[in-house]
Symmetry: C2
Subunit: 157 residues, 2 copies
């Protein structure tokens, strides 16, 4: 379920980037410091019928921005992706989902550093799971948040 106050954010995160929207990715659940997203197999297969590596990447990269949207006041921070690694463990032959949840303590720690230093890196380690609950790919990456510059339009508002 998408919490009502995040409904517009959920749409904007997908609609504002054609390369994300084209995949048909869907936000299943969104609430404070929590997200669950799904990449459909349909429209995302490769030449041998399993999910295309790039579509799995899209599923694994999106959380870096979305977790910021649902952890802080809208427009408080700008997320930037610095690096992402993806390991493919087995063929993905069904829709694939990804869940991510932060504790309040974790979010507060990153926020404090960003406010003090003007930026804060954060890492994510996530499993992408098929319909049977098996991890088809592992994503780890480094993102960064910075306080939204004064006068900069919030692209997600």
């Amino acid at each position: 379920m998408i919490e009502e106050k995040y409904r517009v954010l959920a749409e904007a995160a997908i609609e504002s980037v054609p390369g994300i929207k084209r995949t048909g990715i869907r936000v299943l659940d969104l609430r404070e410091r929590y997200l669950k997203i799904l990449m459909p197999l349909e429209g995302n297969i490769n030449h041998v019928g399993m999910m295309y590596a790039g579509s799995l990447f899209t599923l694994g990269e999106l959380p870096g921005g979305v977790i910021i949207m649902v952890s802080y006041e809208p427009g408080k921070f700008v997320p930037i992706v610095k690096e992402v690694g993806i390991r493919f463990r087995r063929p993905a032959l069904t829709d694939v989902t990804l869940e991510l949840e932060w504790t309040k303590e974790h979010a507060d720690k990153i926020e404090a550093e960003a406010l003090e230093k003007g930026k804060a890196d954060f890492t994510l380690d996530m499993e992408l799971k098929d319909a049977g609950g098996e991890a088809v790919a592992l994503v780890n990456g480094i993102w960064q948040i910075r306080p939204m510059p004064q006068g900069m339009a919030n692209p997600f508002k």
Copy 2:
């Protein structure tokens, strides 16, 4: 320039995977053990007007299969992607290109291992460059080739 004998391969590599085709990626040059590909900025921007991380990933992942197509007899080996890491160095505000070339010695070494052991891993380290020649992202990854199983249809033929 795409060497005539690789024209069908170049089309198949893109046309057979909707998630690749949707990006508008283009093969600029293709000859024995060499490729140059381009990701257009148009259709691949993110919410702040630079190239979307996932489109850069697509550009960086495609060479793992294409280099195999142009280094060995058609259908001799099946390429598999094992893991890919991408580091984003600066915003990509133009079309982005990637070139990759193998020496005959390097291709022969991988082939010999694949034939002897039934599989061979290979790594790629590549720069994704903007129109000014600046590296906007660095991709490194591990792929594997295996001899095409007997009776398996070659998806790229």
